[in-house]
Symmetry: C2
Subunit: 217 residues, 2 copies
DNA sequence: TATATAAGTTAGAGTAATCTAACTATTAAA
DNA sequence: TTTAATAGTTAGATTACTCTAACTTATATA
């Protein structure tokens, strides 16, 4: 039985290594992601290694072992199912779901997870466009680009967001943007890569930082 | 902000003093109810007193102060709403809901509680027949007897159960009993107060202990 | 290749919740 | 009213998670 905290560390490791081509994570990076000090992370890493959930040695990189990855996927599955529940059934907006799902993901009941999945109609994606791991622990990574990689004159469809924070999501809505919206890139400032885009006939200018947090196909 | 554990202590105090005419609880009783040692309860009582949530002094009885009672009622409201959700929407049986609700009752989100209430159609009772406290913290205690107090020859209607444990609830179902069922008391053994009862034409013999855990009107 | 910088670890301490063992106060009986 | 039983507390230790401050190792660059 894993503690609430252990689950959070494993999920963080999974998410840090989920970006394509990444297999391992570092101590400081993990600590920053979780909002704890590196010393704290080091202590927990020893514990997770003892439980055979991660591969790790002093001053070395961290990788998930199969058991650790399985647990992390279960937590991520619950997180994304609960976000979908809050969004679809509880009238939450997409910038409100993450915080509460962060708590709900630790509820222990496999029956509840599976009934929830059924109740929601076996959704494949959460409200932010992220894929929901299956009961078997499969997580399909869809090949996708960021809005910042789209050439001037090209069009694309928004499929997900990288940043899940409330201020970012609220800004996305304010721009008239959302999952499945078609975005046309009208121009790119050579100086700072600012983008001029058009969505549903509405033109906006967004920063490179913003464009890097919008996933498109 | 109360910890998970503090919430459990306050809820336990509320439930111990909920039986009519009771205002105060004792340390050992509280410890037994929560499954901890009396020494542990003493430590927590000092902390809750410090936070002005309870009235308590060395070797004295414990009572909830208004702020403590308010928090306890909020937790109890969430517990019973989640039990109703699990029973009505997640296909849980009434002996399965309590354990998971024990976890869900600690989720912090007033928006979620109120949306859940709305989603369930503002239920007044949980699956065990217990009243659900309102958002304003009101809890109506319905005057009710136990099955053991019914005279031979009389009939009554089951409205709730006192014991919420899975083995007890499974036994209730096995006897063909449930909320709103009419029960007729056919006979009472003078020796050990065993009852012979009839439900939907089905006759059964139950112990006094059992009869004391069935609430009727 | 030496050394400065970044990355990571260790030691020591604090808080929250729990326990055991020994003790003290209250209450009920003899 | 003394004493036995019950109820409750204290002291000291443990586990989980976190921190700060000082230290060590790895790496990158000059
Ligand atoms: Mn999220
Ligand atoms: Mn979490
Ligand atoms: Mn319950
Ligand atoms: Mn609880």
């Amino acid at each position: 039985m894993l503690s609430y905290t252990e689950e959070n560390y494993l999920k963080a490791l999974l998410q840090l290594t989920l970006e394509e081509g990444r297999e391992e994570a570092g101590t400081n990076e993990l600590a920053a992601y979780l909002g704890v000090k590196p010393a704290t992370a080091t202590a927990m890493l020893k514990k997770l290694r003892e439980k055979e959930l991660i591969e790790y040695e002093r001053y070395g990189k961290i990788t998930l072992r199969p058991a650790g990855r399985k647990s992390a996927l279960e937590v991520l599955r619950k997180h994304r199912l609960w976000e979908t529940f809050l969004y679809e059934k509880m009238e939450f907006t997409w910038d409100e779901v993450h915080e509460v799902a962060e708590q709900l993901e630790h509820i222990q009941s496999s029956k509840l997870v599976n009934k929830l999945d059924k109740f929601l109609g076996y959704p494949k994606f959460d409200p932010h466009g992220d894929p929901i791991p299956t009961a078997e622990g499969e997580l399909k990574a869809i090949p996708r680009k960021t809005l910042s990689q789209i050439e001037v004159g090209e069009s694309c469809v928004m499929v997900a967001v990288r940043d899940n924070s409330a201020p970012f999501l609220q800004y996305v809505v304010q721009l008239g943007l959302g999952i499945n919206n078609k975005i046309k890139v009208l121009a790119r400032q050579p100086y700072d890569a600012q983008l001029e885009i058009e969505v549903n006939g509405q033109k906006s200018t967004v920063s490179q930082k913003f464009a890097e947090n919008i996933f498109v196909v």
